[in-house]
Symmetry: C2
Subunit: 353 residues, 2 copies
């Protein structure tokens, strides 16, 4: 039975969402979900989707309690419980067997195998439920998973450190270190929250970035490395952790040949098919410009560093042949904070076609 929002629903869902946030970037193809179990307005148990994607949050939370404790409790879960056999049996079975009084779901799972099936089953079993509590927060936490399920492509976040005059390096391609040590740590946190990291060929060859997540205490973060090299005149190592997309033919296992038409779209779809939810793009200017022109950027994070390099520096965005201000790309700033002088601004592109 679908019931309306109760007094503390947002309070408890917020806590479930905080748990969900913790494992973003660690749950592989699965979403990072949080669950809390409440009785008499007291927190009895909590769960988070575990690294690798299983067990799911609801199971972790339920398994901590006895049947007596579970009886007449309320389950808050940030994403609709699964109703199909994946890596594990459907969570909804365990939920139905737990004698909950009520289930509160933040957002439904757009996966066609699930979407709304769970609430149908709850209804059929006369269990009260509410859907949509703090839904925007749940959508943001799983922006990658939800986009991949809906479109087949990962959520694309572009992060780039620029000078006040929009340059990413000097004319001599020197860029170490544009941003300060705090922004560098923030950049590694973004890597930690991502499933794959992509850079253009020039950045890969000139900067030779390690493309790894280097944060104290983090040693085993799995991060697929991706680069694009249309002509494949360079040699790339045969490495399960590196994928090179190209227009050329190659027999090498980690080099993927694609057609010129819709090249970038096909790159993203291939990454989606590999289960990549969140793709982080770290430059260079040529790749960012191509993604921008193809309207493939979901989020742009600018790390603006308070320096001036001059117009002979390497630009963050290449020529766009925009004639009038009205025809420029218009962005919307959705978050800003300052890290000891470096200004971190997150944008979405407003006039994506």
């Amino acid at each position: 039975m679908n019931t309306c929002l109760l007094a503390n629903d947002e309070y408890w869902m917020n806590i479930a969402l905080s748990f969900a946030k913790e494992n973003i970037g660690l749950t592989g193809v699965n979403p990072s979900v949080g669950a809390v179990i409440i009785k008499d307005n007291q927190l009895l148990s909590y769960g988070i989707t575990q690294p690798g994607g299983v067990p799911h949050a609801e199971i972790v939370a339920i398994n901590k309690l006895t049947q007596d404790e579970l009886k007449d409790a309320t389950l808050y879960v940030t994403l609709e419980p699964c109703t199909h056999y994946g890596k594990s049996p459907p969570c909804i079975n365990k939920i139905l067997a737990s004698n909950f009084e009520r289930i509160v779901i933040s957002t439904l799972d757009p996966n066609p195998l699930i979407n709304g099936r769970s609430t149908e089953l709850l209804n059929n079993n006369d269990i009260k439920f509410t859907v949509g509590v703090l839904e925007n927060k749940a959508i943001e936490i799983n922006q990658g998973f939800l986009k991949r399920i809906k479109t087949g492509a990962p959520f694309v976040t572009v992060k780039v450190a620029v000078s006040l005059d929009g340059k990413i390096a000097t004319y001599k391609n020197h860029s170490h270190w544009l941003s300060n040590e705090y922004s560098l740590k923030f950049a590694h946190l973004l890597r930690f929250r991502s499933d794959a990291i992509m850079v253009g060929k020039n950045t890969y060859l000139i900067d030779k970035p390690k493309l790894s997540c280097r944060l104290p205490g983090i040693n085993d973060k799995k991060l697929l490395k991706v680069t694009l090299d249309r002509n494949l005149k360079e040699l790339y190592p045969s490495d399960d952790n590196l994928i090179v997309y190209t227009l050329a033919k190659s027999n090498q296992k980690n080099i993927i040949s694609l057609n010129e038409e819709n090249f970038l779209e096909d790159v993203l779809n291939d990454l989606g098919a590999r289960g990549i939810n969140n793709l982080l793009v770290e430059g260079g200017g040529k790749l960012i410009t191509s993604l921008l022109k193809c309207n493939l950027i979901d989020k742009l994070i600018l790390v603006t560093v308070p320096i001036i390099i001059g117009n002979d520096g390497i630009p963050m965005i290449e020529n766009l042949q925009i004639d009038k201000i009205n025809n420029s790309f218009r962005l919307k700033n959705i978050e800003t904070f300052n890290l000891k002088g470096d200004n971190i601004q997150t944008f979405i592109i407003e006039n994506k076609e």
Copy 2:
């Protein structure tokens, strides 16, 4: 007698400073000063330097009170009272005749005709005084006056509206309107607080800016217009409100010929000699670049607009031949606020030589 800070000194000085702020940009060659008179911890009177520069703040405040009221009161004044005959007799005479118990001064006047003379006279007359209360605020309010008195040149504020990628116009020189209506109003407020406004020749000829202060209720703001045209191949109107600096020879009254060596420094010194305290520079990129290279920018106000124009747009800063990040111009952000999407950031240049 020099006394230490008393309990409410900062409180009352802050109020005097607020009054001082009101007339910035209206007092001509004179500083904008605020004064309050306090007795028994109550505000008896206040004064601000009047438009045009006279009467001075102290006189305005004193003239509102009787000798009885003034007796044993405390005068708070944001700048040292004058001790010489200018447009008006020395304020210190009126102060000495007013039987104040104590005088509190925020900052001394660096004018060699005054500097410390007033406190000497207070001392000789056995009147208690304190100097240096909230001095940084007083210095900021009269940054233009103080710089001109010390160096002969006005305080140079550069204001420029740029895209996220550091462009001030499209490749077709189209820039209307880059910033939003709120930032445009802010730009006019900056003009209101300035004594002169300078743009490069190209901006003057291509944009044909009115270079006037257009704010509701403001009709008579005096603002000297300045442009630079080294070769003087263009015709300029003979206009008392416009000055054109050039390397060429000219008999026209408002066209000033200077030498090539130290051209920009001489422009500023000439403006200083004309009593200009605050100069606002509004572009274009060529002029801003020249000022930056000559280390002549005191404050840079960036109005960053959330659009992307592309690298073929007109840059805010031209080529600088900077090879390494360490050799770039390093700035310090001293204030940031957001006007409905446009980000207003104020910087000082840190590594001025």
